[in-house]
Symmetry: C2
Subunit: 115 residues, 2 copies
Amino acid sequence: MVGAMEATLVLDALGEPNRRQLLELLHGQPEATVSELVEASGMRQPQVSKHLKVLGGASLVAVRADGRHRHYRLDERGLRAAHEWFASFEDVWLARFDALDELVSNDPNPEENSP
Amino acid sequence: MVGAMEATLVLDALGEPNRRQLLELLHGQPEATVSELVEASGMRQPQVSKHLKVLGGASLVAVRADGRHRHYRLDERGLRAAHEWFASFEDVWLARFDALDELVSNDPNPEENSP
DNA sequence: CATACATATTCCTCGTGAGGAATGCAATCC
DNA sequence: GGATTGCATTCCTCACGAGGAATATGTATG
């Protein structure tokens, strides 16, 4: 269900260092207001709001309104979508380990990985 | 050793749809020449070469020279770096499952997150 | 109600990076 | 050795997106 479409949104959104910084800041605490993110990131308020909008569009962050404050937090959905996109390439490095095993050991019978 | 620096390179490199397309094409076969990637991707040869250069700089692809052909293949290193970057956020969705557990059970005391 | 605060949005500018055409360079083939 | 193939690189242009300043929107506060 979590397909390439969402991974596209997420990877496009994360192709920007400041947005990754925002995600990492949000990783350190349960949630944070825009002002707190402005303070912590060194960016200016409009930039933070704009980046948060992009991250929200990729389901990487979610908002909770509280009076005039807006509390942002990480959204599992986007993160998992990207994680699974990369996981779909896992066979690449698993296959490489198999090849390494064959080279290192002189066991002519390398086991299959069973994920 | 696979740290934030490499994840930055990888995520920057993947913030571009055509580069992701090249990775996915390379995922389907062990390796491919530039000409084959040009054919399969619909992009023109210089664009493919340039994108492959960026992917190589992020350790996402590796090359094997063979006469006047260059065989590109996926490089596990960049893929793993990115996969691990996202894995560092795994606690986000794991914690969300925990919170769900608390809600489902009849604990009437929804605590604040205590970091 | 006026004012201050928190955030979102708009408008503008500018740099970066993607795409296209042409060229460079090395290796093969005749 | 000249021609051709396979790929990399250069130069140029152009669009997109990031950043800045100003403004809009909404909410508390006096």
